[in-house]
Structure formats: C-alpha cells, structure tokens
C-alpha cells in the first residue's frame, strides 16, 4: 500500500502542477505512514506552506524542495556529534527491551574498534534473561572484552569493575549496556543515577555520551520513551535501529523537532558492520521515497 502511494507521490512531486490541498494531504499521508507524529506533521506542513507563500511559489516541485530542505535542516548532523569517538569516552546505552540495544552496542563496538580504538563493554543490563550472554557473544564476535557478572547482580557493581578494567588496560572507550525498564521510572532513575555516580567517582575526566536506542518500527510510543529517558539521564543522541526494515522511522523526526534529540547512528542489518552514522539526506529520501 505504501509503495503504490509513494509512487503516486513521486509523480506528484515531479510534475509542475500547482500545489493544492489534495497535494498537501498526500504529503501528510506520506509522513504519517512513516510514523511522523500527527502534530509534527501539521507543524511541518504549516511551515512549508508559509515558506512557499513567502517565496511566492506554488508549484509542487518547488514545494517539494522547500519540504526537503526543511527536514534536512532539522535533521542535519552537526559537527561535534561524534567528538566522543576521538576521546576517552564512557558511553551509556539505554533502550527498552527488544529495540536492538545489545545488537547496536555490538555494532558500535565494531565501528569504534575499526577506527583503532580499544573498546571494553560492560554488561550492566543484569535484569533481562539472556542479556549478558548476548553481549558476551557480541564481544566475541567483535573481539573486545566484556565485563560481566551473573544475572540479577548490581549494575553499578558491574560498571565499577568495568571502569577498573578500563583504566588498567588503558582502553579508549567503555560502552555500558544498561537496562531500560520503562514501567518503573523511579527504579530506572535510581539505577542510572547510581551508575552515573560510580562513573563520576571513578573516572570523572572521561568524555560522557548517553545514547538512546529507538526501534524504527516503533510508532508514537517512541516519543514517550525518548522523553522518559531524557528525564532520567543526560541523553546526547539517538541510535535508530532496524532501519533495514520497511519502516521509515519517521518518529525520529518528531523526536528531533520536539525534544531536540539528534539521531547519530542508524542500524541497517544483522551484521557487525551494519551501523552507520546518520545520513539525513537518505533519511528524507526514504520518508518520501525520492530515490
């Protein structure tokens, strides 16, 4: 269904017809089918209409350009987003179960290792059955050390161990896999707070990065997730996983627009090398199928 629709949309975009209400309605449809939130969608369309008016243009291809530029500008990757790749960094990765958190960590470890960094992983998601084993398995695949204890142990203790190992081995990057249990904000805050205190105490000079993993197939609930994590921790960016599915991950656009959280990486497959820096241009083209 989405495909047929985007074909029509493509035709509309390429023609020189006047952008009428029907045209804007189809833009709305394309965005909503990509999981852009209704409110962001309305805001963007209003802004585009306004801009088109200002410029005195009303042909569909002109409006298309305005829209594309608008979203590109919004989602643009800025300098400094990846500074942590060059520093002695402690990266905390948060995300609810099933979004591909552990997989993203494995791939991020590979990404950094390839850049010549010495990476250590900390299995601080001690709650979910199998989470530790999964991270250990990824560590083996990528060829990096994984610091872990047994299921149900104190996450902060795991982080403490990992920091000792990090210092002893003079590693460059420590990536911490933390649990993301959304239904209890208080516990989550306590857990993340404790981990942060340990890091502050043991390695205050480290560059800190906190990435939230969001699943591209998630709909409007991704916004609540991002919001809650932002309230619990100093989130610095988003990893958008499962971008190789047919979902478009449009809610990342709403999250950038409404919470100001930038997407930094996107996951595009099962293999270790399937993690890329976010490509705003490709993302926009995906949403509107403008390849």
């Amino acid at each position: 269904m989405a495909n047929i629709f985007t074909k029509i949309l493509n035709n509309i975009f390429q023609s020189n017809e006047v952008a009428d209400e029907a045209f804007y309605e189809e833009l709305e449809e394309a965005m909503i089918l990509s999981d852009v939130s209704y409110s962001s969608c309305m805001r963007i369309i209003d802004a585009v209409k306004h801009e088109a008016n200002q410029r005195g243009v009303n042909l569909t291809r002109d409006v298309q350009k305005i829209l594309k530029d608008y979203i590109l500008d919004l989602m643009m990757v800025e300098e400094g987003y990846y500074a942590f790749e060059q520093e002695k960094s402690i990266i905390s990765v948060i995300g609810v179960n099933g979004v591909g958190k552990t997989t993203s960590i494995g791939k991020l470890a590979y990404h950094l290792k390839k850049k010549g960094k010495k990476v250590i992983l900390a299995a601080a998601d001690t709650f979910r059955a199998g989470a530790i084993e999964q991270l250990v398995e990824w560590g083996n695949r990528v060829g990096v050390d994984v610091i872990h204890q047994k299921e149900g142990s104190d996450p902060a203790a795991v982080v403490f161990d990992a920091l000792q190992s990090f210092k002893a081995k003079n590693a460059d990057v420590l990536i911490i896999d933390t649990a993301g249990r959304l239904h209890n904000k208080k516990n989550l805050m306590q857990e993340l707070g404790k981990i942060n205190r340990i890091i502050d105490r043991e390695f205050a000079e480290g560059y800190r990065e906190t990435l939230v993993v969001l699943d591209a197939t998630t709909g409007q609930n991704a916004m609540s997730q991002a919001k809650l994590f932002k309230e619990c921790s100093q989130v610095t960016g988003v990893i958008l996983s499962k971008m190789d599915s047919t979902a478009k991950g449009g809610m990342a656009l709403s999250i950038q627009a409404e919470l100001g959280l930038p997407v930094k990486y996107m996951g595009t497959g099962e293999r270790v090398e399937n993690l890329q820096r976010f490509d705003a241009k490709r993302y926009v083209e995906d949403i509107f199928d403008l390849h």
């Binding site: 999981d35 099933g98 059955a129 989470a131 990824w138 197939t217 709909g219 409007q220 599915s245």
Partner: protein, 459 residues
C-alpha cells in the same frame, strides 16, 4: 506527548452544542477530526483510519442524541462501538487439543517483538492448567536466543529442548515432536527466529517447519508499540506462513496500541492475549471493548466502574457521607476509606485506569504513596478503639504509645494527627455542600478528592 483524552477534546468542541436533538453533519465533521487525530496518535494505520472515519460519519449523521448522553458522549459511543466491532467484539482464547494429543504452537514475529518471552509465558499459563509443555528453541541465529529461552524455561520449571545452533530449525522441530511423543509432553511450543518480513529465506524456513510438524496454531507476536508498519507485518506473515492467532506484547507501557486494530484488520484472526512485559506471569485476556477505549485514549473507565461497583460497600459509603455532613469523621472512617481504596487496586490501580493518567502519573511517586498509606494504616491500627472513634482524646502519651505500636517516629504520629484535623475541617466544608445529595463517596470523588487538595493528605 500530550495525549489529551478524546473525551476531553470532544467535550470542548461540543460545549456550545448541548440541547440539540440531532447530530448535524457539521458537528460530526468537527468531532471526527478529533477522532481521526486520536487514532493516528495511537498508531492506527492511516488507510484504516480513513475508512473508519467514513464509516462512522455515515452512521453518526442524524443520530439522535440520547437524552442521557451529551453530544460528545454520543459520538464517542458510536466511535467506540464501531471500533469494538472491528476488533472482534468478544474475547477469544487459545483452544488446545485434548490432553491425549500433542498440540503444536509455532511462535512467529519480527525481531524484538517478544516471541521468546511470550513463548515462555504461554507455556507457564498452560502448565498451570495441567498441560505438559515443552519449550523448543528453534531460533538458531540470534546470539543467546537459546539461552534466553532456557533461562525462562528454568524459571518456570518447564522442560526445554534444544539441539544447539548448528541443526536446522525444521530438524529441531521434528526431533522435539518425537521427544514429546516419547516422553508424554502434550504441548509443543516452537520459538522461531525473529525476522524482518522482507527476508524471504527465513519465511521459507518457517514454511519448512510447518510442513515438518503438524502445527495447530501459528501465533504472531506483535509489539503493541509498532507504528504504521504493523499493517505490513501482519499482512506478510499472514500471506507467507498463515497466522491463526495474535498476541500483542509489551502492553504494560503507556502505548495506546493502535497496532491491534491494524493487525486485526489485516489478518482477520483473533487477538488472543496481551503480554504485559518481562514478568513471566503476565499474559492477560484480550477484551475488544477495553482495547477500543485504550486506543481512543479514554483509559479503562469501564473496568474501573465495574470494579468500583463490585468492590465498594454502598452502605458504608452512605454512612460516611452522613457522618461527613455532620462533621463526625473519625479515624475509623478514615481507615474504612483506605481499605476501600485498596480493594480497588490501590492508588496506582485506580490511576492507571483513568484517562490521561498514564501521563499525569509520571510525576507522582506511587510507590512512596503506597508506602505512606501503609504507614498511616498501621498508625491508626495502633490506636485504641476509643481513640479511633473520638480523635479528640489524643494526647502526648497516647501518641507515644501509638508511635511505638506502629514502629514509627513520634513525629509521624504528630503529622498524622495534624493532617487528620485539617482534613476534618476540610471535610466539614465539603460535607456541607454535599447535603441533600447521596450515594457519592467522599474520599474517592474523582477530581474532588479532598486528600489531594493543597495541604491535604500526603498521598
């Protein structure tokens, strides 16, 4: 995200319309615009929303506004009824073969949908019903998938079957079936690899598994948080492997679960259960009418009303009101109120069922509130009957005894007494305005809760 409840929004729109006998086209259009937004925010598929709105519009225009309902409520009723109808109207459960035969369940779904956890939950559920389940690990690709199933099986003391990750899944299924026959298991639950539906190779694998063993139920597990993509997921699994039951996982969060509607529409198959998260006990029956309310952002008011009706003691409520209006509220009444509140599932239980509360709740420390409530109860229970009936008796030595009895600091008792007195004052004012009305329950009047007012009680 501001998920203002649909009923609130519609009430705003219809504020000036009360008194009209019929819904005009203009009214309906105005209302349906809001309904549309609510559905889209709940992740119901765009196309479905369009069809749905058209259908509702047809049946709503010219509809008599029931005398007992406001125009907003009339529209909501129509919308809700229509949604419920689409969702399958009644609750369906998984039917198994007789105990003497082996029932085979195959779990399918996307990566991260919660298949493995759900498989274990199903096994646990049926084990309680005296079935003999065997959990079979057929996901040989995801690192540690086998381990996850094994750990979950162990937690529930359910037999577990795996041949490692070097044997083909259809072979594993076949061997497991033989094992079940030999050892007398009668419920085989196959956990398959998660996949993105675009992966043809894995779809083929599912088909091979289905021809290797006699699968009775192919159960699609879908994450309740899935966005617009839910339609495609449901459609491709349905078309490629055939699905005859759906479980909606991760319903414990604040997600509105519009995916349920998309999946139902695409597969035509019943939604069997709702998964409520990681805890292995949580698999709940699916009630279409309640889901409709949730999708519309109206909370589960229906369940709350049902519960309130069945749990509350009307006589006691009336007695409370009577005392209240005379300003005779004492510690016994207070204790009664707290007990009634707890019967309804505690503060958290009530708030969860109210529209818009999921959001509002984020600022409230519920655990703390419940804890405080327990503390207050124990203090009151440490009072003598006389003290409870006559709060004026309270003096320092009594307070000291109460503090010791409840195991709290005397300061806590002082706080309780002070707050109780303030509450009494407030109740007196409130009670005055209640005279002549009856049936209400003072401590629980939604939105008029005297405990919740400034300076009121600490929870």
């Amino acid at each position: 995200m501001a998920f203002e409840s649909l009923s609130d929004r519609l009430s705003d729109i219809f504020q000036n319309l009360s008194g009209k006998g019929k819904l005009s086209e203009e009214d309906v259009n105005l209302a349906l615009k809001e309904v549309r937004m609510a559905l889209l925010e709940a992740d119901v598929n765009f196309k479905l929303v369009k069809d749905f709105i058209a259908k509702v519009k047809e049946s709503a225009i010219g509809e008599e506004v029931f005398s007992s309902l406001s125009p907003a409520q009339t529209v909501i009723k129509i919308v809700r009824d229509e949604l419920t109808k689409m969702m399958g109207e009644e609750n369906t459960e998984l039917k198994l073969r007789p105990q003497s035969e082996i029932t085979v369940l195959m779990m399918v779904g996307l990566q991260g949908a919660g298949k493995t956890t759900t498989a274990a939950k199903l096994a646990g559920k049926f084990q309680k019903q005296h079935r003999k389940p065997l959990l079979v690990a057929c996901d040989i690709y995801r690192p540690a998938a086998i381990e996850q199933l094994r750990v979950n099986a162990e937690k529930l003391s359910i037999p577990f079957f795996s041949l490692g990750n070097q044997v083909k899944p259809e072979e594993i299924a076949k061997k497991a079936y033989e094992e079940a026959k030999a050892k007398g298991y009668n419920l085989l639950i196959l956990d398959t690899a998660g996949r993105l539906q675009i992966d043809d190779a894995l779809m083929e694998e599912l088909k091979r598994m289905k021809s290797a063993v006699p699968v009775d139920w192919t159960i699609l597990t879908v994450d309740a948080m899935t966005g617009q993509e839910a339609v495609n997921v449901a459609e491709s699994f349905s078309k490629e492997v055939g699905v005859n039951g759906v479980i909606l996982s991760k319903c414990d969060g604040d997600t509105r679960g519009g995916a349920a509607l998309s999946i139902k529409a695409m597969t035509g198959q019943p939604i069997l259960y709702l998964g409520m998260g990681e805890k292995l006990s949580d698999l709940e029956p699916f009630y279409p009418d309640r889901m409709a309310g949730r999708i519309l952002g109206m909370g589960d008011v229906l369940s709350l009303i049902e519960k309130a009706q069945s749990e509350m003691d009307e006589e006691k409520a009336k007695e409370s009101v009577r005392k209240l209006s005379k300003g005779q509220f004492n510690y016994d009444d207070f204790l009664d109120q707290m007990n009634q509140l707890q019967k309804l599932g505690g503060i958290a239980g009530i708030l969860k069922m109210l529209p818009g509360m999921n959001k509002a709740m984020q600022g409230i420390d519920l655990e703390d509130s419940e804890k405080k409530m327990k503390q207050v109860k124990s203090m009151i229970q440490s009072m003598t009957f006389k003290e409870r009936a006559n709060p004026k008796l309270m003096n320092p030595s009594r307070k000291k005894r109460i503090a010791q009895g409840a195991g709290v600091d005397i300061a806590e008792v002082n706080k309780l007494v002070k707050q109780f007195e303030e509450m009494q004052k407030m109740m007196k004012q409130f009670g005055g305005s209640m005279k002549g009305k009856h049936g209400g329950f003072p401590g629980m009047g939604m939105g008029k809760n005297p405990f919740g007012r400034g300076g009121g009680f600490p929870f």
